[in-house]
């Protein structure tokens, strides 16, 4: 072969930080081709996708509204991914968090108390964690693959939500629409900046990022996760329990996804509807990888992915592009990232010339 892939003796630190940027550049290049195929001027499309959504103060606040669930979920998932625990059912955990958390309001909607929302957030975390506990139990007890079980439970959770909004949780004054009653003030996420939709959930997300950072860097659990993930045998010799890590990472990710779900329904959505997430649970997987499973990276990656949601909406309105472009875009980012990751551990060598010598 002309081009040879050679293992580096040490993985490249530079490349760890460079590959997300390489991936983005390649995605932008590829999407200009895509836009041309769709009959839109690439310059105009890129402008609508990435510049226009950042135009005003309000737009910037919307960026945080969209980034909030992504950040919460991705930071939770990243801990699991580090330990090679593949929870890909965050979308279901988000849904269950929203259901369990808001059940308090649905059944006791007359309560007017400052403790209502905190209790709902807590229940949201419990709901998400409980849903993630199922794959954790099945994995540790029966060795059932958590990828498949957690994903199957996404469908179950979404169908369960549908049962509720089409039945017992339907707003009695709602003309039979599949929607719950709208949340009262004491069940609503407080708005952080007047005149925007930026809510308390954003603060929770930032706290989660910070907290996870400290946990991974400074605590024994964080250390165990890193060891089990990179060298399971060594972890075993050190007496770290793999099962404990599976439980911990799944519950942790589930709880944060649950909080994300609750903060969506008690925040921008303000009620329970059949579709509460445009796939945040799946996009968060991309966010986690794009952010290199590191809190700081995840912070920026979630803003970037939030931008693709906003850009998709803007492009739909002003250019008539289908919303699905956002999905293609997000998929491409992850593809290129994984592809360019080869550069971290390997380098390319040209084989010309040397062959003639040997």
């Amino acid at each position: 072969m002309l081009l040879k892939i050679e293992k580096r003796s040490e993985s490249s630190r530079v490349m760890v930080y460079m590959t997300p940027i390489i991936a983005l550049v390649l995605t932008v290049l590829c999407s200009t081709v895509l836009f041309t195929l769709l009959g839109v001027s690439p310059v105009e499309a890129l402008n609508t996708f990435f510049i226009q959504p950042l135009d005003s103060r309000y737009d910037l606040s919307e960026l945080f509204v969209k980034a909030t669930p992504l950040m919460l979920i991705a930071i939770g998932l990243s801990v699991g991914f580090k330990a090679n625990v593949w929870n890909i059912g965050a979308e279901g955990q988000l849904t269950m968090g929203a259901i369990v958390g808001s059940s308090l309001f649905i059944y006791f909607h007359d309560i007017d108390s400052v403790f209502l929302l905190p209790a709902m957030i807590l229940l949201g975390a419990i709901g998400g964690a409980a849903w993630a506990a199922i794959p954790a139990f099945l994995k540790t007890r029966f060795n059932a693959n958590e990828i498949l079980t957690s994903l199957m439970l996404v469908y179950v959770a979404i169908l369960f939500l549908s049962v509720l909004v089409h039945g017992p949780w339907r707003d009695p004054d709602g003309f039979n629409f599949p929607e719950s009653r709208t949340f009262s003030d004491s069940a609503d996420m407080p708005i952080l900046v007047a005149g925007t939709r930026m809510h308390f959930g954003t603060l929770l997300a930032l706290l989660a990022v910070l907290g996870t950072w400290i946990m991974m860097a400074k605590t024994l659990v964080g250390f165990q996760i890193k060891v089990i993930g990179s060298a399971p045998t060594a972890g075993g010799y050190a007496g770290f329990s793999q099962k404990k890590i599976i439980w911990f990472t799944l519950l942790f990710g589930g709880a944060l996804a649950g909080v994300a779900g609750l903060s969506e329904v008690a925040g921008p959505i303000d009620q329970i509807i059949p579709t509460i997430s445009p796939g945040y649970g799946f996009t968060a997987i991309i966010v986690a990888f794009l952010g290199r499973l590191h809190p700081v990276g995840i912070f920026f990656a979630s803003l970037l992915m939030a931008l693709t949601y906003l850009g998709g909406e803007t492009a739909q309105i002003s250019l008539g592009l289908p919303v699905a472009v956002t999905g293609v875009f997000q998929g491409m980012v992850l593809f290129f990232l994984l592809a360019s990751d080869v550069l971290v551990n390997y380098r390319f060598r040209l084989n010309i010339g040397r062959k003639a010598v040997s």
Binding site: V154, Y155, V156, A324, V328, Q330, G331, F335, L338, V342
Partner: protein, 309 residues
């Protein structure tokens, strides 16, 4: 015998529900036998479904439509191959990426075709044979893809266990280093296996959009790609059991249609949960016995191959 009239329609819908799973499952079986785990089945099925549907509506030629779906699926699988085989990316993450990308890409491709009707695939009719009560419509009244699905399972079985090429494929999946040192091209063989898997997933997807529910809707696979992955674990990597498993899942999937017709008073969503719950239960039952899994699973599954030389 009038009381048993319901049985024929039930079996007929079971066949249509099972066929996409047979295709996707048997394709992924070959992929996994070569030692590669491609979690992108769902994405490949979706792209196959939309490609098949578009080709059928534009050309009206169903043969071409199925061919296009297979091609589209294998192109997706080729992308997966480039990343995992040539660039040595993590197979789990890349498979997820393939599914996420496939969901978006198929939605984009199909957006102008949503809700458009298309004639379902033609069914076989042999005067006399198809008219035999009960077994006639079941055995002699299917569309071509159903017959093809059985043929593919038989062919894969024969290929894996009766041919030298099949033996090589299994060797690559069980010990890539040994296969490499004898001189087989591990990467080349895996590319072929992965692309076969993609082609089959594509056909499975096309069956959904051309026969099962002859239309295109975003995300219409509804997790069938993932169920197909679970099916392989259930089948302990044996082609015949993939077929049986697919029909079991087909049976569970259609329960919701027939239970409602029978007047069962359960929200339809609860019945729709059944295939997913069943998948989890089956995984639990099978995975419990680890020694059995270890005995049958390809030893190198999911492992990255980088020739040291």
């Amino acid at each position: 015998m009038a009381g048993f009239d319901w049985i024929v329609p039930v079996i007929l819908t079971m066949i249509t529900a099972a066929t996409p799973l047979v295709f996707a499952g048997i394709g992924e079986l070959i992929t996994e036998k070569s030692g590669v785990l491609n979690l992108g089945v769902e994405g490949m099925m979706l792209v196959g479904a939309v490609t098949g549907f578009i080709t059928a509506t534009v050309t009206g030629n169903y043969f071409l439509a199925v061919l296009a779906a297979a091609f589209a699926g294998s192109v997706m699988a080729f992308l997966f191959g480039v990343l995992t085989l040539s660039l040595m990316a993590n197979q789990v993450a890349t498979g997820l990426a393939l599914t996420l990308f496939g969901v978006g890409l198929s939605a984009l491709m199909g957006q102008e075709f949503v809700g458009m009707p298309v004639d379902p695939l033609d069914k076989l009719y042999i005067s006399g044979l198809t008219d035999i009560p009960y077994i006639g419509p079941i055995i002699f009244g299917q569309d071509g893809l159903v017959y093809l699905s059985f043929a593919v399972v038989a062919a894969v079985s024969w290929f894996l266990y009766k041919t030298k090429a099949g033996l090589i494929l299994r060797a690559v999946g069980d010990s890539h280093d040994a296969a490499h040192s004898i001189g087989y091209s591990v990467i080349g063989i895996r590319y072929l296996a992965v692309m076969f898997g993609g082609a089959m997933s594509g056909i499975g997807g096309a069956y959904l959009s051309l026969a099962y529910t002859p239309m295109w809707a975003e995300n219409m696979t509804a997790g069938r790609g993932w169920i197909a992955l679970a099916l392989i674990v259930f089948a302990t990597w044996k082609p015949g059991l993939v077929l049986i498993g697919a029909y079991m899942f087909g049976g569970i999937t259609i329960l919701q249609l027939h239970a409602q017709a029978a007047g069962l008073d359960v929200p339809s969503q609860v019945l729709s949960m059944l295939p997913y719950v069943a998948t989890v239960l089956v995984l639990v039952l099978i995975s419990k016995d680890q020694s059995r899994i270890r005995k049958h699973a390809p030893a190198c599954i999911g492992k990255i191959f980088h020739p040291a030389a």
